[in-house]
Symmetry: C2
């Protein structure tokens, strides 16, 4: 499954299949261009819950249940769940799985969590360690704003490079055997920090990690951009996506028109006032578990390189003068098993 030149990457000789996937999104996301790719959307930001944090848990529960339904599985049949979110101590995820009797492993990968969960789920299924495994992640604009930045009522002005945290949750379930989409390989990223300190420009902070991981993916697995119909980063937005594009060109892997970013796909930047685009764990989770996997099932995308990107900082690290480290994990999804 690996050779010594593949330090970061793994190829699955028995590629796990996507058994089911689901996504839930908020009101603003429903007003965007991907409106018809969500399984469920909310009328407001609460999903019937008294707090934004509980709403995030509720979105995860709905995404998980939707994915289970599509996989024709019960919770009791799910062997393992990998999940994480942006809330302190990942309470969105922990409370989602509380009392469900599902073996649960918590992740913290910031906005790279969906890709991290997907590669770990693939590893557990492909290695025969779990009969099935879910990857699950979420974010919530309002819960995130008050935790990372300002109370919403404060009405803080947003800078042009700022991104809008997606309210949404996505879930994909993997199992062995045949399916319409497979996880063929993955590349684990290392933590890269080129010294960005501006928490209002996370796209720039994460982009170098994306270039690093995508380049490693091509080199270690002897692949090239042309092997993919789409190469999609998680939530770099307009600023970060441009850095990735030029970074990949510089490394000799010009992605051309096949490159896109979930943060640019999810909103209409001209009409939705999101500045540089979408962000948050939920951003890549709902775009993957909505539009992208639907397009793969429809045969519109045959090979996808899904690259979750995360900014691994906190308000405390920023207030202590630290720069913002980034990470990116890449997962190769394909409609072909080999």
């Amino acid at each position: 499954m690996r050779n010594d030149s593949m330090r970061q990457s793994m190829r699955f000789t028995e590629p796990p299949a996507v058994a089911g996937f689901g996504c839930v999104a908020g009101k603003k996301e429903r007003e965007g261009p991907l409106y018809d790719s969500f399984d469920l959307t909310g009328e407001d930001t609460r999903f019937g819950e008294p707090t934004w944090e509980k709403a995030e848990t509720k979105m995860q529960q709905l995404a998980l249940q939707t994915a289970l339904n599509k996989a024709a599985m019960t919770k009791q049949e799910l062997s393992l769940a990998f999940s994480g979110d942006l809330l302190n101590q990942c309470i969105g995820s922990s409370f989602c799985l509380r009392g469900e009797g599902i073996p649960a492993l918590g992740l913290y990968g910031a906005c790279s969590t969906m890709a991290e969960g997907l590669l770990l789920a693939a590893m557990s299924v492909a290695g025969g360690f779990a009969g099935s495994a879910a990857a699950l992640s979420s974010s919530h604009f309002a819960a995130s704003e008050r935790q990372y930045r300002f109370p919403l009522g404060y009405g803080g002005q947003r800078v042009p490079t700022a991104q809008w945290t997606v309210t949404g949750a996505g879930c994909a379930i993997l199992r062995p055997g045949r399916g319409r989409v497979y996880v063929r390989a993955a590349t684990v990223g290392s933590i890269v920090d080129l010294g960005i300190t501006d928490a209002g420009n996370m796209g720039a902070a994460m982009a170098p990690a994306a270039v690093d991981t995508i380049t490693a993916h091509f080199r270690e697995l002897d692949r090239k951009p042309e092997d993919y119909d789409r190469i999609v980063t998680g939530d770099l937005g307009a600023v970060g996506a441009q850095i990735v594009r030029s970074g990949l060109e510089r490394e000799g892997f010009a992605p051309g028109g096949r490159y896109d970013d979930c943060g640019l796909m999810i909103y209409d930047r001209h009409t939705q006032d999101v500045h540089a685009g979408g962000s948050g764990c939920g951003c890549s989770a709902v775009v993957l578990c909505g539009r992208l996997l639907r397009q793969m099932e429809a045969g519109e995308i045959r090979n996808l390189l899904f690259c979750g990107t995360g900014a691994l900082f906190s308000p405390v690290s920023s207030s202590q003068g630290e720069t913002i480290p980034g990470v990116c994990h890449a997962v190769w999804l394909s409609t072909e098993r080999e």
Copy 2:
């Protein structure tokens, strides 16, 4: 590696070996009964850094380097690191691995992180997905107090059931092949919540998860307490450990004298004023990567069931009236390969 009756557990047919391990602890830990099992200890709580959070990162770096040294490996030879901590957004871990070029997957398992990392490292090595993998975790008393409870200067009174967050970091590195200690099997826990709301009694909140996971481990793998020289939970302290002991007896798995808890081992409760015992990600990390693995290498323990325990709450979830969910992951370490 698994059969259908093993939903939560996995047995490694090619058990990874512990290539190296290391631990770093603070001043109070050095004054406790395990003083001679730490590789490095600090004179103060800062480890030469300007803030407690940076000190936590520094401890992780020292623990990782110590484990690499013992494994006679360089950072460039390490294929994968699983790490996590208690700080919001796990900054202790992210900043430790920043710029090191080590493929990194972040975890959030609260105080169960060392066990979670160890089982994922074992899965990646045993499955052939990584040439080597580290599990790394830490906590810091002062950083944790100010984040979860009160500023230290406030001098808040501690209740008798409260525990003392360990200042320390531990790291274990796994690789294929022969060694003195192997990871033979693991059981992934699900999230259990019996309704404890008192953040000053986390042992009681986590204990039901420990009973659930340890019982599943025995049943799924057809094992019994007598198969282990030691069964050790992570950080339940005096209150939680008593609940686990009686819970296991009720389930027909009375552990007898072989049961202990890292939170009870690390401090002298009669002289060190820690109330119910130690806690934090660092607690089980330094006891495993110090005393326990040393005893295994010396042949004093041949089979160890290491059960990391975590309380998956946050100050926000508590202030919103939520109860405290717990989780426990169990890892079977053995001096025998089969």
